[in-house]
Symmetry: C2
Subunit: 405 residues, 2 copies
């Protein structure tokens, strides 16, 4: 059950991006498991990918194709098989998939980016399955299929994830639409499982990658479900330039960056709200740190503690577990006497011990909520950071013990 | 259900160590929750303690008392309350507890070491409860109560943990007996929750601490249940000198060190076998590393992955999760093409991809066992390391969601 998360009711089309969905029988019959995204000529694309040393074949191929600078014309996304840990055969499968799409759309294989998600380590004839599915879905390519695409890229996600924004840039209406999937193996260090954000804004070519990095660092790189980093994480930013504005340089794009970051943050939070087995949504804010990195260190230490995550699942204000995690986060000279912890508005720890005004009843009242912000002040500096995570429930174990996505 | 772990049937007495157990009503009525260990004059004691920045009051007091060098005469151990996160009142409670024991035994408070385990952050009149319980248990002090002590120091442990060894040193029979408790919040970085190892061997005073550190580094510092480091971890080595051997210098103590390390390893493994909710015992060996630290980094990354732990619970050879964890362990220049992974004797990954001889059936056969050794060869050096962990089950969630120890 996702935490206060409904599927998007509508997503705004982005001029220059057409989508089609197919059932390609990749792992299951009668499941929409293939998404084709066709991009108009002149579209710019930037991407960030997992930093896992085991990188899936499609990640390697997508990076290589992006680097050729030929101008990307299509993205092909499958679920059911991650094409990771598949060695040379997997690389061939990813390259052949691009070839098949290129032949259908009349571009080069290097102008196609492949993305896969699903089970790791199972060899598959991906190109054959894509080739069989393409003729059926090509005629359906349309700009208004974002909702269907958000749905088709899901694996263990219970809810489709998407967000749109519109803004005005120098008199031109500009749209930003994004979709994402991801629910488990979520601890991105570059991007999340799969996320696609498109805008019709025109951007200077050199602006795209820094904008994406900035947005991702404030969104996808600030979430964790289980601390497990995927082999397939990828987040793409697509700018078709069809809005008609003069291309924006990096310094002129603040409003657009905000809109892209908002979409990315909404998608990233949606992934946590729909985290495997999640019943609580937990923003963790660390302030009073000496550096951003030590704030993140403490935040992730808490977010990855199974004892904290199970206490939240039980709505149990077992704040000793918070103390133990903060104290073992590797901040060697932390003065525990200066640490303050709030759950929502409730101060539970002051000067390293239970706050005088704290009561078990008040703690339980906060913990009963579905969204429980934690705020830790380390009392040693002015840096702060925020991440988002969820609890650890029976359903997390069930999903990951009973199921291969 | 612990994994292939029975409670010890007998534990050998150690001359110079007498024990008594009491019901002190610390958190629950009619529960043996207090253990007194009386040491003969001249006994040497060394200790290692948690490196958590939030250190419980008894840890702070025990360290201080050890440092006075007055010669420790007693240890007082309670369950039901960790006396952690309790501020100045907690420190007073720990000190007063020592005073109460000292008065009863006729020594100074500095000659008593206090230990607490249980719920964090609840103020308690520990000294009062101990004072009330002591008169009833003092007459029962005896050398043959190790089994009862192993039982009384448990919290969420389902099985008491203890081990004994005997060896001959220069014609003298020497005994080593140890007990430990711990089941959750287990990821010691100095020692585990509570462990006590006693020997009647005579040792040079300067040999005790290095022997303890060496034994702990090869045992308690190589286990993890949930990656959560306790505020109360402590491991004590007690040498009464009653065996009658000439005091051993560090360089002469190899056989004794081996026996102590064996006892420590047996206790440490028992903690993992009885890890909260554990149904599998998983030794993880990493070889072919460039350094011990990178071997440990990879080993702990795997041992702390909820996806790996739930796959083991499900007996599912989902080795893609192993790959993903190894690849994200922070070994930046890892060449995945050289990585090999074995489950038991079965090679599952060779050269970074599925081994040709691997089959799902063979994988499932290994995973169905209760003990599943993982061996990862990083193929880049000659360093190796080994740690022990367990799986993540429904029961882990149940224990930690429903229960405050």
């Amino acid at each position: 059950m996702p935490v206060a998360l409904d599927p998007p009711r509508s997503l705004l089309p982005v001029a220059g991006v057409r989508l089609a969905i197919a059932e390609a029988q990749i792992r299951y019959a009668a499941r929409r498991d293939l998404t084709l995204m066709e991009l108009a000529p002149g579209t710019q694309v930037a991407g960030v990918f997992t930093r896992n040393r085991f990188r899936a074949a499609p990640v390697l191929v997508a990076e290589e194709h992006l680097a050729t600078g030929q101008g990307i014309r299509a993205l092909i996304i499958n679920t059911g098989n991650a094409n990771a840990g598949t060695g040379a055969a997997g690389l061939r499968a990813a390259e052949d998939s691009c070839r098949v799409v290129a032949a259908a759309l009349g571009c080069t294989a290097q102008q196609v980016l492949p993305f896969s998600t699903g089970v790791i380590g199972e060899p598959i004839d991906l190109a054959g399955k894509i080739a069989a599915a393409l003729p059926g879905c090509l005629p359906a390519l349309a700009e208004d299929r974002w909702l269907e695409a958000a749905d088709a890229i899901r694996t263990t996600d219970t809810v489709a994830k998407g967000a749109s924004r519109q803004l005005n840039i120098a008199g031109k209406e500009v749209t930003v639409t994004g979709i994402a999937k991801g629910s488990g193996m979520i601890r991105p260090d570059m991007a999340t499982m799969l996320a696609y954000i498109a805008t019709d804004a025109a951007l200077a070519p050199e602006a795209l990658q820094p904008i994406l990095k900035q947005a991702v660092n404030r969104s996808f790189n600030r979430i964790t479900v289980d601390g497990d980093m995927s082999t397939n994480d990828a987040c793409m930013l697509i700018a078709t330039g069809r809005a008609g504005n003069l291309p924006l340089a990096l310094g002129e794009a603040d409003a657009l960056i905000d809109a892209i970051t908002e979409v990315a943050t909404e998608l990233a939070q949606a992934i946590v709200r729909d985290g495997e087995g999640a019943s609580k949504f937990i923003p963790i804010r660390i302030s009073g740190g000496r550096s951003v990195s030590e704030c993140l260190q403490v935040a992730y230490r808490m977010a990855h503690s199974p004892l904290i995550k199970t206490a939240f699942f039980a709505s149990d204000p077992n704040w000793g577990r918070l103390l133990a995690a903060i104290g073992s986060a590797g901040v060697e000279d932390l003065d525990v006497e200066r640490v303050q912890i709030h759950l929502g508005d409730l101060c539970i720890v002051r000067n390293g011990a239970r706050a005088a005004e704290y009561s078990e009843e008040a703690g339980q009242a906060v913990m009963a909520r579905a969204e429980i912000p934690i705020h830790v002040d380390l009392g040693r500096g002015s840096a702060q950071e925020q991440i988002w995570t969820c609890d650890l429930s029976y359903d997390y174990v069930r999903i990951n013990a009973d199921y291969r996505s």
